[in-house]
């Protein structure tokens, strides 16, 4: 009879995530309302449940810390300790540490995290304990392994005479002598003798009081301790006398020995009676232990089920196929040309609507609220604030906005970076803030929202805004721009995203981890997203990220290049141009530029890039797609014709074929043909050599 607890490990950690979330939520609420008892209870219960579960999996470090933490929470909960800002801050740190311990345990290492020791000491200070919290794992009931097969125990076939008298209250507690004797019988052979001497008249019988006393002759290999354990639950509700007989001796004293006079007032008149009901006959009890299977259905797992991600992805893939087939069918119906109100057209329309709903529903399975990620960010803010010595208030909006699981996961690093930046570089020091007439405490706001089929995530601070002169100066020093270049405010701000912008003089303890905003940006690009900066001097800075809802479909522009149908992600396209000969300029190195509002943009022919043709001389009949690449520069891609704009299902090319330069993936069009999805950044990099020289030129104009 063993249950494989490993099976439940993952669900334990999932529950831990929820509990930690509830705990962090609780702290957030408590920071505004420190006397909120209900919240305090909820926080306590969350930590308590983590401890309980951790115990079941033998995660001792986690249990120990959770216990210590919980003890402090309990003091507040029971009103023995007042919650102030300082204590709440300690609790938050303990909460963070608890998250770390859970994380470590999940990775398979039940190890103390670096901060644990210090936090334990601080908890001791608060609790007035000396560091020795009683071990929570000291159970009063040591687990006893009952090994019936092993007969060479010291108490081998010992005999015991047990006298048992129930005190009033035993029945009321739900215990029953007969059940106890039955349990005792599991340890050996028992013969129970009931003494009915105290049973009075019917009138004087009290239902709650047991007037029968018992003497049990036990023989078996259990120790006295094990026998006492049977009566453990009723030790305060009975009198129990156990007399151990020497092993091997014949059972001479089977008759009631030495009963105290007050227990047996009339020994002479009443012989011990064997009451049928109290005699336990071995083997007489049917044991029905075979019902386990049939009752499985009774288990109620709650409101959620765990599903393998692979199954969901397979479903998403199939729905993708469905959408493709639907598009193909639409084309066939159009080709047949039945009137739009015909039965087949009407039926198809509702099928189409249904397929759309199924697609949305399936995508929604992968969608998760950003809340847990936002909570991680709250911690980043706290840590950044304490590292920089700044006072920071962290505000979140739209934390229930749902985003694809993978997108959420891959956003963690870029967001962490931007949040650190906001605290470290965005916010001014308290003195400077006060001097500027702002509250000493800075505010960092993280918000998420759905907007026109995309997810928008904004990270803003109410700091001093981007110092454009300084940014410009750094960019000149790094050779990213020329001294004489004239740049618009937004162009200057976008310099922050250039590789090689952030470096030594920018590096601080906190944000300077060798990762610049350029990395943030390329990661967001890889998710099909875009990021932009908005900054008002003295007012603050906002980084806005726009992301697709899912990585399974893509809003694409269907284009023609040299007879090939291809797809360009809409997210990459800034605008489309009909080139007029006048706007095109040749440059000496052999490239061409197109003039557009505030600059000259290098032209790349998509047909030439893929080797479909050599670059056409006359661009007039073509279309230019203006894109912005990872390095913040704009390029114009030459295509022949724009055919359509719609959602396409992304099919990985790499898993079926191999990575191809300039191609991100493939899709299947309505007519069943395969079209390649272009990776514009990759095209720019691939054709980069000659373009590198053009960059400064672009900026210089």
């Amino acid at each position: 009879m063993t249950v494989d607890r490993d099976e439940f490990r993952e669900s334990f950690f999932e529950e831990c995530d929820e509990l930690l979330e509830a705990m962090h939520d609780g702290f957030d609420r408590l920071s505004g309302q420190q006397d909120d008892e209900e919240t305090m209870h909820a926080v306590f219960r969350a930590v308590h449940s983590i401890k309980g579960g951790a115990g079941a999996f033998g995660l001792n470090h986690l249990v120990r810390f959770a216990h210590h933490f919980e003890t402090a929470l309990d003091k507040v909960r029971s009103g023995k300790l007042d919650l102030d800002d300082e204590l709440l801050d300690l609790f938050r740190q303990c909460g963070d540490n608890l998250s770390d311990l859970v994380g470590a345990a999940r990775e398979g290492g039940d190890t103390p995290c670096p901060g644990t020791g210090t936090l334990n000491e601080r908890l001791d200070d608060v609790l007035g304990t000396d560091g020795h919290v009683e071990d929570p794992e000291e159970p009063e009931f040591e687990p006893v392994v009952l090994d019936f097969g092993d007969f060479d125990l010291p108490g081998d076939d010992s005999g015991m005479s047990i006298r048992f008298t129930a005190l009033p209250g035993l029945f009321k507690s739900g215990n029953d002598p007969v059940v106890l004797f039955a349990a005792l019988e599991k340890l050996g052979t028992v013969e129970v003798t009931a003494d009915l001497a105290d049973i009075g008249d019917l009138d004087s019988l009290e239902p709650g009081v047991c007037a029968i006393r018992w003497t049990i002759d036990y023989s078996g290999n259990a120790t006295e301790e094990e026998v006492r354990e049977v009566f453990e639950f009723v030790e305060d509700l009975c009198t129990l006398e156990i007399e151990v007989k020497s092993p091997g001796l014949p059972d001479l004293d089977a008759e009631v020995p030495d009963l105290p006079a007050d227990l047996l007032p009339s020994v002479a008149s009443l012989d011990p009676v064997k009451a049928d009901g109290a005699t336990l006959d071995k083997g007489a009890r049917p044991k029905e232990r075979s019902g386990a299977k049939q009752d499985q259905d009774d288990r109620k797992p709650g409101g959620t089920i765990r599903v393998d991600l692979e199954k969901i992805d397979k479903l998403i893939n199939l729905v993708g196929e469905l959408v493709i087939k639907e598009a193909m069918l639409a084309q066939s119906i159009a080709d047949l040309g039945p009137p739009s109100e015909s039965e087949i057209s009407v039926g198809f329309e509702s099928l189409k609507a249904l397929a759309g709903e199924i697609q949305e529903g399936v995508m929604a399975i992968r969608a998760q609220p950003v809340k847990p990620m936002f909570q991680r960010m709250a911690r980043i803010v706290r840590e950044a604030a304490s590292a920089t010595g700044k006072k920071v208030r962290f505000v979140t909006n739209g934390e229930y906005t749902e985003v694809d699981k993978t997108v959420v996961e891959r956003l963690v690093d870029p967001l962490t970076h931007m949040i650190r930046n906001a605290v470290d570089h965005g916010l001014e020091k308290s003195e400077a803030r006060v001097a500027a007439g702002k509250p000493a405490e800075g505010t960092v706001t993280l918000s998420a929202a759905h907007r026109s089929g995309r997810v928008m995530i904004d990270i803003s601070d109410d700091g001093g805004g981007i110092n454009r002169d300084r940014v410009r100066q750094i960019a000149v020093e790094r050779g990213l721009i020329n001294e004489s270049d004239s740049l618009s405010p937004s162009e200057i701000e976008n310099l922050l995203f250039l590789p090689g912008f952030s470096s030594a003089s920018e590096v601080s303890e906190l944000s300077g981890r060798g990762v610049g905003l350029d990395v943030v940006r390329s990661e967001i690009h890889r998710l099909g997203g875009r990021v932009s900066i908005q900054s008002d001097p003295g007012e603050g800075t906002t980084f806005s990220i726009s992301l697709p809802l899912t990585l399974a479909v893509l809003e694409g522009m269907i284009i023609q290049v040299a007879g090939q149908t291809m797809v360009v992600p809409i997210s990459a396209i800034q605008e489309t141009l009909q080139p007029k000969s006048a706007a095109i300029h040749d440059i000496a190195t052999g490239g061409r530029l197109v003039r557009n509002r505030d600059g000259l943009v290098p032209i790349i022919d998509v047909g030439e890039f893929f080797g479909f043709r050599s670059e056409p001389r006359d661009l007039d009949p073509h279309v230019l797609l203006l894109i912005e690449s990872d390095d913040s520069h704009r390029y114009a891609l030459v295509v022949d014709e724009i055919q359509d704009q719609r959602q396409v299902v992304i099919k990985s090319l790499e898993t079926n074929y191999q990575q191809i330069d300039g191609i991100a993936a493939a899709t299947i069009l309505g007519d069943g043909r395969i079209a390649l999805i272009i990776d514009p950044d990759n095209i720019v990099r691939g054709s980069g050599a000659k373009m590198a020289g053009d960059l400064n030129l672009q900026l210089a104009v």
């Binding site: 009321k172 639950f233 305060d236 009890r285 109620k300």
Partner: protein
């Protein structure tokens, strides 16, 4: 007759473990998330034994036991307290409320079943 066990715990992990352990041991199992839920299941499933946690939202273990004990029943259903707490005063409170026995978490499977055996009439003997 298979024993019907009602297990009440606000932790999903605990419920899962209890459900698995009890099912493997051959009991029929019903589960509840807190005291209130426990009372509803108590009335609904008419359990032979109840195992309950103490620290729970809405209605805690003590409250559950008291309420369950006030239900009119032809027999007193054994209620075991399963908790991480081992403080004597909590035990006394549980006893006062009407608990039949207690098991300290983390529970051992054998131990849990053994505890049930000590409070529940597994049928046929009475």
């Amino acid at each position: 007759m298979t024993l019907q066990v009602l297990a009440i715990d606000d932790s999903r992990t605990m419920r899962n473990l209890l459900s698995a352990t009890l099912s493997v041991a051959g009991y029929r199992v019903s589960l509840a998330e807190d005291g209130e839920d426990g009372l509803a299941k108590f009335d609904e499933s008419d359990p032979d034994v109840v195992i309950t946690d103490i620290n729970m939202p809405r209605l805690d273990g003590f409250g559950f036991i008291e309420a369950a004990r006030s239900r009119a029943r032809s027999r007193v259903v054994p209620i075991l307290v399963l908790t991480t707490e081992s403080a004597p005063e909590l035990k006394a409170r549980a006893r006062e409320a009407g608990a039949s026995g207690w098991i300290v978490k983390p529970f051992d499977e054998e131990k849990l079943v053994w505890a049930i055996e000590r409070v529940a009439a597994t049928g046929g003997s009475s």
